[in-house]
C-alpha cells in the first residue's frame, strides 16, 4: 500500500497512534487532494470529514472547507431520504405489504449512529414475489415513475430487482424479490424467517438479521462489484461489529451451508480486509475457519488494489473494455450469449413488452450496438492511455472475479 492508501485507512480507524497521527498531519496539499479523491471514489466524504474532526487531526483549511460543505450536503440529502423512506414505509404498512429494508437504508437507520455518514444512491427494499405487483402499483400511485414502464412484470432470468422507480427530488427505489442471483425460493423463505422487526419513529418495518446483512453486503460488493472502490463496505462491517450483535457461529453456518448463502470467499475477503486495514476486531478463529485454501499474498494485494481502483469512465465504456478483455482471453460461447442476453432480458433492456416477433429486431440492434462499442474500445486501447489503464483495471477485476466466483 502506498502512503495515501495507508493514511486513508488509518483515518478510518477508531484509534490512531502518535506516529500515525504525525504521518497524516505532515501530508502535502497534493497528498490531501489524493485522500479527498479516494474518499470521493468510495463515497466516504462525509465519513472522512467526521473522522478527521473526531481524531482532532490538523489538516489544511482549504480541505476542511470543502469537506464541511460536502458533509452538510450529505447530511441534507440524508434528511430528505429519511422523509422519503418514512413515506414509503407508511404506504406499505397501510396496505399490509410486508417488506425488508436492505443495504444502505438498513445500515443508516439501524447500524450507524449518525446516518449522514452512510450515503446511498437508492433505497433497496425486499418484497415477497406475491406482493410485488401491489407494491409496484402503490408506488406508481404515490408519484413514482418506472424507468422501464413496459416491463413492470419482468421477474424472470437473473434479475433480482425491478428496474428503479424514480420520484422527482428523491432517491430511486429498487424493489427486490430476490437478494442475489444465486438464491432460490427456499433461501428467500429462510431469509424472511430470520428477519427482525424494527421501528422508525412510530413505523414498523423489517430488516435482515445482522448475520444476513453482513453476508448480503459482502456478497453484493464482492460478487457484483469485485470490491472496486468498496471501502464503504469495510466501514459498514466495522459499524456492524461495533454494535456487538453478531453471532459468529450462526454466521459460519449461514456462510458454509449450501442451503443458505454458501459463499465464504466474499465474506472472508470483506472481513479479512476489514480486520487488516481498519483493525476491526474479527475473531481470528472465525477467519481461519472460512479462509479459502488458495488465498495468498497475491490475492490479498489484488483485493486491496480493487478497493483503491478508480474507474475513470462511464459504465458503458468500462463494460465494453471489460467485455473485450474477456473475449480476448478466449471466445467463450457462454460469454457471447451473456452479452446478447436472454429474450426476456433484452426486452427489459430496451423497455419493450415481451413478444417473440420483436426479438430479431432487438438482437440485431444489440449486435450492432455491441460491435460498435467493441470497435470503439479497441481503438481506444490502441490509441489512448486512459483506455489502456481501463483495460488493466479490467484485467485485475477479472482475475479477482474468477477467484471470487470459483
Amino acid at each position: 500500500m502506498d502512503r495515501i492508501q495507508n493514511n486513508f485507512c488509518l483515518i478510518l480507524r477508531d484509534h490512531l497512534s502518535g506516529e500515525c497521527r504525525r504521518d497524516i498531519e505532515t501530508m502535502s496539499m497534493d497528498e490531501w487532494h489524493l485522500i479527498y479523491e479516494a474518499a470521493c471514489d468510495n463515497h466516504l466524504l462525509s465519513l472522512l470529514f467526521y473522522q478527521l474532526k473526531n481524531h482532532q487531526l490538523v489538516f489544511p483549511a482549504e480541505i476542511e472547507t470543502v469537506l464541511r460543505n460536502d458533509y452538510l450536503r450529505f447530511s441534507g440529502n440524508d434528511l430528505r431520504r429519511k422523509v422519503q423512506l418514512r413515506e414509503m414505509i407508511r404506504l406499505f404498512n397501510e396496505h399490509g405489504i410486508d417488506h425488508i429494508l436492505l443495504k444502505g437504508s438498513h445500515l443508516a437507520e439501524k447500524v450507524y449512529s449518525n446516518s449522514a455518514l452512510r450515503p446511498m444512491c437508492d433505497i433497496d427494499v425486499l418484497i415477497e414475489k406475491s406482493e410485488f405487483k401491489k407494491a409496484y402499483e402503490l408506488l406508481i400511485t404515490a408519484g413514482y415513475i418506472s424507468s422501464k414502464p413496459n416491463n413492470y412484470d419482468s421477474q424472470s432470468g437473473n434479475n433480482k430487482h425491478f428496474p428503479p422507480l424514480i420520484k422527482k427530488g428523491g432517491l430511486a427505489v429498487e424493489l427486490h424479490w430476490n437478494i442475489n442471483s444465486q438464491s432460490n425460493d427456499h433461501n428467500m423463505e429462510m431469509l424472511w424467517s430470520r428477519s427482525e422487526t424494527m421501528t422508525i419513529g412510530n413505523l414498523k418495518t423489517k430488516i435482515l438479521s445482522p448475520e444476513d446483512l453482513l453476508q448480503h453486503i459482502s456478497f453484493h460488493k464482492g460478487y457484483d462489484n469485485m470490491f472496486v472502490s468498496s471501502l464503504m463496505v469495510l466501514n459498514d462491517i466495522k459499524e456492524i461489529c461495533s454494535g456487538n450483535t453478531l453471532n459468529w457461529d450462526k454466521l459460519l453456518l449461514l456462510a458454509t451451508s449450501s442451503n443458505e448463502w454458501g459463499n465464504t470467499k466474499c465474506l472472508f475477503s470483506a472481513l479479512y480486509l476489514c480486520h487488516k486495514l481498519l483493525e476491526v476486531d474479527i475473531p481470528e478463529s472465525f477467519l481461519n475457519k472460512i479462509k479459502p485454501d488458495d488465498f495468498d499474498k497475491k490475492y490479498e494485494q489484488l483485493l486491496i488494489n480493487q478497493l483503491f481502483t478508480r474507474i475513470d469512465a462511464d459504465m458503458s465504456t468500462y463494460g465494453s473494455v471489460n467485455a473485450l478483455y474477456k473475449l480476448n482471453r478466449g471466445l467463450n460461447p457462454r460469454l457471447l450469449l451473456k452479452y446478447l442476453m436472454s429474450p426476456r432480458k433484452i426486452c427489459l433492456t430496451y423497455d419493450k413488452k415481451y413478444s417473440w416477433h420483436i426479438l430479431p429486431g432487438l438482437y440485431g440492434k444489440r449486435i450492432i450496438e455491441k460491435s460498435r462499442c467493441g470497435v470503439k474500445a479497441c481503438i481506444g486501447i490502441l490509441t489512448n492511455k486512459d483506455s489502456r489503464k481501463l483495460y488493466e483495471t479490467s484485467k485485475a477485476s477479472s482475475e479477482i472475479e474468477k477467484w471470487l466466483k470459483s
Binding site: 447530511s75 441534507g76 434528511l79
Partner: protein, 98 residues
C-alpha cells in the same frame, strides 16, 4: 416591520439537525430544500421559539459568543429576513417584551 417588537418563530415543519461540530442543517420538506448553517446561525435558530424577541436574541448572542462584530445587529436582521423570505420562519407580535 419593527423587528425589535417581533418574536420570530421557526416553521414547525422545518427539520433542524445539529451536527457533531455545532454546524447544522435545515431541511424544508415542503420545498425539498436543505440549508447548511454555521454555529452562529444554529445558535440563533435555536432561539426562534416565539419566546425570544429579536433584541433578546442579539443580547444573548453578545453574552454567549466570542468576538461578536459591531455589525452583528444588521447581520441578524439580514439573516431573519432571509429565513422569512424562504418561509422558514414567521414573526409573532407578543403582548410583552422581554
Amino acid at each position: 416591520m419593527e423587528l425589535n417588537k417581533m418574536y420570530p418563530i421557526a416553521n414547525a415543519m422545518v427539520v433542524f439537525r445539529e451536527e457533531f461540530d455545532d454546524w447544522a442543517v435545515l431541511f424544508d420538506p415542503d420545498a425539498n430544500k436543505t440549508f447548511g448553517m454555521n454555529p452562529v446561525s444554529s445558535f440563533i435558530w435555536k432561539k426562534l421559539d416565539g419566546k425570544h424577541s429579536r433584541q433578546n436574541i442579539l443580547d444573548t448572542l453578545k453574552e454567549e459568543c466570542e468576538d461578536v462584530p459591531a455589525e452583528a445587529s444588521k447581520h441578524l436582521d439580514d439573516f431573519l429576513s432571509e429565513l422569512e423570505k424562504r418561509g422558514l420562519v414567521g414573526f409573532e407580535r407578543a403582548n410583552q417584551e422581554g
